[in-house]
């Protein structure tokens, strides 16, 4: 029994080391080639997936990794989009626009977090609900900057003449480059020291405090970072959709984003991409099946996916990739298990666990 487990582990180790060496290179090659080979509509779909993958990634930072329920991530996407639209329509330098589209949402996120994180988990949830709910009428009131309910159009990122590319190809490259950079940075962050600290804060704030970590500071940090990434996704949103209105940041979309994160797989980089793909592709899929049954089909797809894969789509990819990072289940550890391997094996089937107790 134990021997057999060793063999599988060794195999997947070998697989993984191969993937680790060849994987990134392969990925880069694929990403470079993809925009060139696919027709326009596919490129546009991939670009949209990129936009929402980044948005889901931001949500994952605050919720998946730091464990703070956020129901308002779409607000930061909307804010980033508005900043971008305003900057572009006033002919600001696009680099300046991008920096502002990152910094302004990050700053707003910081202010919100400074207040909310002091209150604890529940208040963060409610304050974040308020963001899109209040954000929509606020955007209408600030019509001088936002164009009111008619929204703002801003077309930018057309392919420069020297590139010889189509607009959709050029835009997709931009999305892949910016989005890829954000993913890479975030990945390094959550796999490094910060990621471990966030994990401790998520699991038990008291434990974190007792080892000298300020949960408050890290919650604020995670929230700010999520807002910044949200701002980036807003910039990409404008690049790809070229239009934004108060409707962009409605509460319903925020909830869908949350669903996409969980479906993709919480606290997972791959899951963020899958979540973005889910967010974009499922409406297209339901349109293909029967456009008049959108809600019914979407609800059914969501339930079926989670019923089959409660850990999200990323749990499909997990055995291949970074197999054994055990998911944060609320498992009181029925027995003091001899090794991590046993534990991750047991987590899924533990018959009785304490669902809600003392965190």
């Amino acid at each position: 029994m134990a021997g057999a487990r060793m063999t599988t582990a060794a195999l997947s180790d070998r697989q993984r080391s191969w993937l680790r060496r060849a994987g990134p290179l392969l990925l880069v090659v694929v990403l470079v080639v993809v925009p060139l080979v696919f027709p326009e509509s596919v490129n546009e779909t991939i670009a949209r997936i990129g936009v929402f993958a980044v948005a889901v990634l931001g949500l994952n930072v605050v919720m998946g990794y730091a464990g703070q329920v956020s129901l308002g991530q779409i607000f930061f996407l909307g804010l980033g989009a508005y900043v971008t639209a305003y900057g572009v329509s006033n002919d600001w330098n696009i680099v300046v626009v991008f920096v502002l589209a990152c910094l302004i949402p990050a700053f707003v996120g910081l202010l919100v977090a400074l207040a909310a994180a002091r209150l604890g988990g529940l208040a963060i949830a409610m304050v974040t609900v308020a963001l899109p709910i209040v954000g929509v009428p606020l955007a209408k009131r600030l019509s001088e900057f936002t164009g009111g309910s008619q929204g703002l159009s801003a077309r930018f990122g057309d392919a420069p003449e020297w590139s010889g590319l189509y607009d959709d190809q050029w835009r997709l490259y931009l999305v892949l480059a910016i989005g890829g950079a954000v993913f890479l940075l975030t990945r390094n962050l959550v796999r490094g020291k910060y990621g471990r600290v966030l994990g401790i804060v998520k699991k038990n704030e008291n434990v974190a405090s007792s080892v000298g970590i300020s949960p408050y500071r890290y919650k604020v940090l995670a929230f700010t970072l999520a807002s910044l990434i949200g701002g980036v996704s807003g910039f990409l949103y404008m690049l790809v959709i070229q239009y934004t209105s108060p409707e962009t940041m409605s509460f319903g979309h925020s909830i869908q984003l949350l669903a996409a994160m969980v479906i993709g797989g919480a606290a997972s980089i791959v899951g963020s991409v899958l979540g973005g793909a889910y967010y974009v592709l499922v409406p297209q899929l339901t349109n293909l099946v029967d456009p008049s049954l959108t809600a019914l089909l979407q609800g059914a797809v969501l339930l079926v996916v989670l019923f089959v894969l409660p850990g999200g789509l990323a749990s499909l990819a997990r055995p291949l990739g970074r197999g054994r990072r055990s998911r944060a289940r609320h498992d009181p550890a029925p027995l003091i298990t001899p090794s991590a391997t046993t534990k991750s094996g047991s987590a899924a089937d533990t018959p009785e666990t304490e669902r809600q107790g003392h965190p």
Binding site: V134, P137, L293, L303, L306, T353, E354, G357
Partner: protein
């Protein structure tokens, strides 16, 4: 002055709509430890089933009673065949499952009954009662009275009865509950069933006012959530008082605080939550508690 008092009365009757859903949220949270986003959707489905019975000639009271019973069964079935799979996993996943359920139910209602507005008759007359220059419809009074009765029943259920205690125990710690001989699975089904039945009452109360559509309660859900947090998740009286407070203060702020106005009055409950939670993290009436949304 008459306008001022009228605004307060209007706020109370709007608050009663929020309170109806908020009570169902409290019930399911007390009984399962979850915030159920599908609560409003289940109430709408119940209202549609009553509406369908009405259109087949069943008298109103009978149709509503039948929908309450059907909803109890539906809630229990949802728990048994859907939620049970997620009850011991990540609570975030379970919440998203309720979001999926909401989407599905909305879709099913739209498919079966179309997205058109349907008129739903009220148990109470729409005639106004005028008192000291303030008028209020009998429908609002009736709705409020029913909600107060339901609130008191719920309060009594949780505070005083063995069933209420057992439901709460199962939500807090299913394993220890089982060690004490509580039939955990059956109690979870009963909890969902009761919440759904309560939702059916809420649906029948507010459908005449909001007119029946698949998304009828989507907007009210946010207010109900705010009321639940503000009032304290464990206190039925607390959430009803909070819902009324939200309804009243929202109106007053819209009219008398020019900076807020009608467009930003939706910020009022959240400002209220912020202020209250700074002082009392457990909400107005709640006991200190550990909550996961």
């Amino acid at each position: 002055m008459a306008t001022f008092i009228q605004l307060i009365v209007d706020g109370l009757s709007t608050g009663s709509v929020y309170a109806a859903i908020a009570l169902a949220l409290v019930l399911v949270h007390q009984a399962t430890g979850l915030i159920n986003f599908a609560q409003g959707g289940m109430a709408v489905l119940a209202a549609y089933s009553a509406w369908w019975l009405l259109s087949r000639g069943v008298p109103l009271v009978l149709a509503i009673s039948a929908s309450v019973l059907l909803s109890f069964a539906f809630g229990a079935v949802v728990e048994r065949w859907l939620m049970r799979r997620f009850e011991r996993g990540d609570p975030d996943t379970a919440v998203v499952v309720t979001i999926g359920l909401l989407t599905l139910i909305t879709g099913v209602c739209g498919w079966l009954f179309t997205y058109n507005n349907q008129q739903f008759p009220s148990l109470f007359s729409l005639d106004a009662v005028t008192f000291l220059g303030v008028s209020v419809s009998q429908r609002s009074i009736g709705t409020t009275v029913v909600i107060v009765v339901v609130m008191l029943l719920l309060q009594a259920l949780f505070a005083g009865t063995k069933l209420g205690l057992a439901l709460r125990a199962v939500a807090i710690n299913p394993q220890s509950a089982a060690f004490s001989g509580l039939p955990v699975e059956r109690l979870l089904m009963v909890g969902w069933g009761l919440a759904a039945a309560l939702g059916a009452i809420a649906g029948a109360l507010v459908a005449p006012q909001l007119t029946l559509t698949p998304g009828m309660l989507d907007n009210a859900l946010v207010y109900a959530l705010a009321a639940v947090i503000l009032g304290g998740l464990s206190s039925p009286i607390g959430v009803v008082v909070a819902a009324w407070m939200i309804g009243v203060l929202e109106n007053l702020a819209a009219v008398y605080v020019p900076l807020i106005g009608y467009d930003l009055k939706v910020a009022v409950p959240f400002i209220l939550i912020f202020v209250v939670l700074v002082v009392r993290p457990q909400g107005l009436f709640g006991r200190k508690t550990v909550v996961r949304v």
